[in-house]
């Protein structure tokens, strides 16, 4: 059939199985919006308040499902507003396709109204990007974008479509949805060498990240830990990859990781690292990181294997397929001494656990856990609240923790929570702080309009808590520009947007607020007042090692 370029864009998105897209119209994408109008029964478009929110929403949609998230924006400022959202997806390996309009081809390069070189701008934050040269290339370019976004290590792809290409007509034949490139295990010889190394270990530690979730390899991971009698820890991006209450799971490790998890990794003689990239927030000082251990590093992205640490065994390949080949080569082991050392670490952690009463961040999040039951998506923004959520929230299903790890994007949560809700159909929680929420709270308008059942748990301490924490510890309490001291009434603000909300100052109030919120039809905001001097602990000082861990502040 003969269609316009704009129709082809929308038909191809539908053909690829996407049900919901996010975006914002404008002059150079107006033809695509006309096609969205035409095909509105087949594709839902969620109009966001700002392109950044739309990009985060598409990202949240993708994180919650593993499918491609799609965001649409106009040229110029519409496109540049996507940049933070695309970069967020890039750093966390999220499959995202961004479609931008641009001025007609014959005007490109002339600084026309709302013209910007968005492919140039997004070159370092996309896996690949395109300027479409003709309507004939359009459908295949979008298909290729989907394929690239999903294949190997997922990531964002941008397709820039000049307006004349949206108008031009050509033949379109629907095809079936693309699949990611075929996955391959690591080379046999590498797997054999790695198995020999693991078989010699007496204190193994299995460490996984977001790559495990992308590879659907949680079953193989648990089999591995069981067979070699190892504890399991994860990076921030691995959270929700295995059930929080699994007996072998010690939790997240790293700068604000669980004490037992970080310590066990530090003491292990063999770290089996699955789909992680040994980020600086994980290793601290790399010279002093895991000096006693052999690292077996498996990742689908070969460039990760020589980037941050030098593993003894580097295996490039899909985790699931590689683990399936590795498992039969491993000898079943029991390490009672190692397990009792782990138990001791767990005891130490329990001993130093925050047991205070009242509105502590931990108590607020424990109350939340009773309502989510570990099954519902929990999105966060970035800062102290994010780390508290990472430490305290429980998950029994994967892809339920939606948070910006690599880029650490404040303002991510509101859009991402909407995207996760629309993708899963489940009531979704946003844990946020007064700083982060202030950045993109305009998306409350979208959540109200779309009647998205969101529970917004706003931890209000009146300060930019994470930066303040650093100022307390490392900058002689010079609280430069971290005291917000704003007059914002978050409950009134929520009402002004057409949502409901309540302010709570104690745990009883919180419980009844949660019970209302979890029955609410649309978004519901709970403002929890917490103390400005709450700390995220433990803390590994930046550039430090496990010997420098801070578990207590002040008396």
């Amino acid at each position: 059939m003969r269609l316009s370029g704009a129709d082809i864009i929308v038909r191809t998105i539908i053909e690829q199985g996407t049900k919901t897209v996010f975006g914002y119209p404008g002059g150079q994408i107006i033809n695509v919006y006309d096609s969205l109008y035409k095909y509105q029964d087949e594709l839902r478009h969620v109009l966001c308040a700002h392109e950044q929110g739309a990009a985060h929403a598409a990202d949240g949609y993708a994180r919650a499902t593993g499918e491609v998230g799609v965001v649409i924006a106009t040229s110029g400022p519409g496109a540049t507003n996507l940049v933070t959202g695309i970069a967020t997806a890039y750093l966390d390996s999220v499959p995202l396709v961004a479609i931008t309009g641009n001025v007609p081809s014959y005007q490109l390069g002339t600084d026309s109204f709302q013209e910007i070189d968005i492919t140039g701008i997004t070159l370092p934050i996309t896996k690949h990007n395109y300027v479409v040269g003709s309507a004939e290339e359009l459908a295949d370019t979008i298909r290729e974008a989907y394929k690239l976004a999903l294949s190997d290590r997922p990531g964002p792809v941008l397709v820039d479509v000049p307006k004349d290409i949206q108008i031009a007509q050509c033949e379109y034949e629907p095809l079936s949805p693309v699949c990611a490139d075929q996955k391959k295990p690591a080379k046999d010889v590498r797997i054999e060498q790695a198995a020999a190394c693991i078989n010699l270990s007496h204190m193994p530690y299995v460490y996984f990240g977001g790559g495990l979730i992308n590879s659907d390899a949680e079953e193989e991971l648990l089999d591995l830990a069981e067979k070699i009698d190892a504890p399991i820890g994860c990076s921030f991006m691995g959270i929700s990859g295995v059930p929080t209450d699994h007996p072998r799971f010690l939790g997240m490790q790293g700068m604000h990781g669980h004490y037992a998890s970080s310590m066990a990794m530090h003491q292990a003689d063999c770290i089996i690292a699955l789909g992680v990239r040994f980020n600086d927030r994980v290793t601290g000082n790399r010279e002093r990181f895991a000096t006693r251990s052999q690292i077996v590093h498996i990742d689908i992205d070969g460039a990760e294997l020589s980037k941050n640490v030098s593993p003894a065994h580097a295996l490039r390949g899909d985790l699931k397929l590689t683990l399936q080949k590795l498992l039969p080569l491993l000898e079943p082991k029991e390490h009672p001494k190692w397990q009792s050392a782990i138990d001791q670490l767990k005891n130490d952690e329990r001993w130093s656990m925050d047991r205070r009463d009242g509105m502590t961040p931990r108590n607020v999040l424990l109350a939340l856990n009773r309502y989510t039951g570990g099954k519902l998506p929990v999105a966060t923004d970035v800062g102290q609240h994010q780390m508290w959520a990472a430490q305290t929230c429980v998950f029994s299903e994967k892809r339920r923790f939606i948070s910006s790890g690599g880029l650490g994007t404040m303002g991510f949560g509101m859009g991402a929570a909407m995207g996760a809700q629309l993708a899963t159909g489940q009531r979704t929680v946003l844990v946020t702080g007064d700083g982060s929420f202030g950045m993109c709270l305009n998306e409350l308008a979208t959540a109200v309009h779309e009647r998205i059942p969101l529970v917004i748990l706003l931890l209000n301490n009146g300060v930019l808590g994470m930066v303040r924490q650093w100022q307390t510890l490392f900058f002689d309490k010079h609280y430069s520009n971290t005291v917000l001291d704003r007059a914002t009434d978050f409950v009134a603000l929520s009402k002004a947007f057409g949502a409901d909300g309540v302010r709570v100052t104690d745990l009883d109030g919180l419980d009844s607020a949660l019970s209302t919120a979890f029955k609410s039809d649309g978004p519901y905001l709970i403002e929890c007042i917490i103390d400005k001097d709450e700390f995220v602990l433990p803390m590994l000082p930046p550039g430090g090692s496990m010997d420098d861990i801070i578990t207590k502040v002040g008396g």
Partner: protein, 169 residues
């Protein structure tokens, strides 16, 4: 300092060089020489890169290059099994009292005179990077007006090609 040379076949598309060099800049690779040229095929270009560093930098550069969808294949160029060449054009001031010295230096390095005026001489030299460096060094005794060099290009000796090599890899 250690260095290595890679030949990279890329899709001949608009902006392909920008994609490759953007990655070098972002990942802070120290590239000392880079040349781009047409190849035996219309749809591919060949980039020859020399970069500082040892094994780890080389592995990382190759892995990062392979992540770019425009990259088709990569081969390491080892001086012992390859023909390597670079082109130099050097313009030096011409003076009657120095003419014979310039001539002699050019002859010693196999450089050709490709332009000659009363006031200037343009010399052209093809060679490996080290000989070209040495020639430029010698020419510093005169008044060098302009220098332009292409960066290294190379082909493997014998019938092996970079694409065949990539298949084996």
């Amino acid at each position: 300092m250690n260095s290595f040379t890679l030949a990279v076949l890329v899709r001949n598309q608009f902006g392909v060089l920008n994609r490759v060099t953007s990655m070098f800049r972002r990942r802070r690779f120290n590239i000392t020489s880079l040349s781009v040229s047409v190849t035996e095929s219309d749809v591919k270009s060949r980039i020859t890169i020399t970069a500082d560093g040892g094994g780890r930098e080389k592995d990382q550069l190759i892995d990062q290059l392979y992540k770019l969808p425009v990259v088709v294949s990569i081969a390491e160029i080892k001086a012992e099994d390859c023909v390597l060449a670079e082109l130099l054009l050097l313009k030096v001031q011409n003076k009657p009292e120095l003419r014979s010295d310039i001539h002699a230096a050019a002859e010693a390095f196999g450089a050709k005179i490709v332009d000659y005026t009363r006031d200037s001489v343009v010399l052209q030299m093809v060679g490996n990077a080290r000989n070209i460096d040495a020639f430029i060094e010698v020419m510093q005794d005169y008044t060098v007006l302009e220098i332009c060099r292409t960066g290294v290009i190379s082909l493997e000796r014998g019938a092996m090609t970079i694409e065949k090599k990539a298949e084996i890899y």
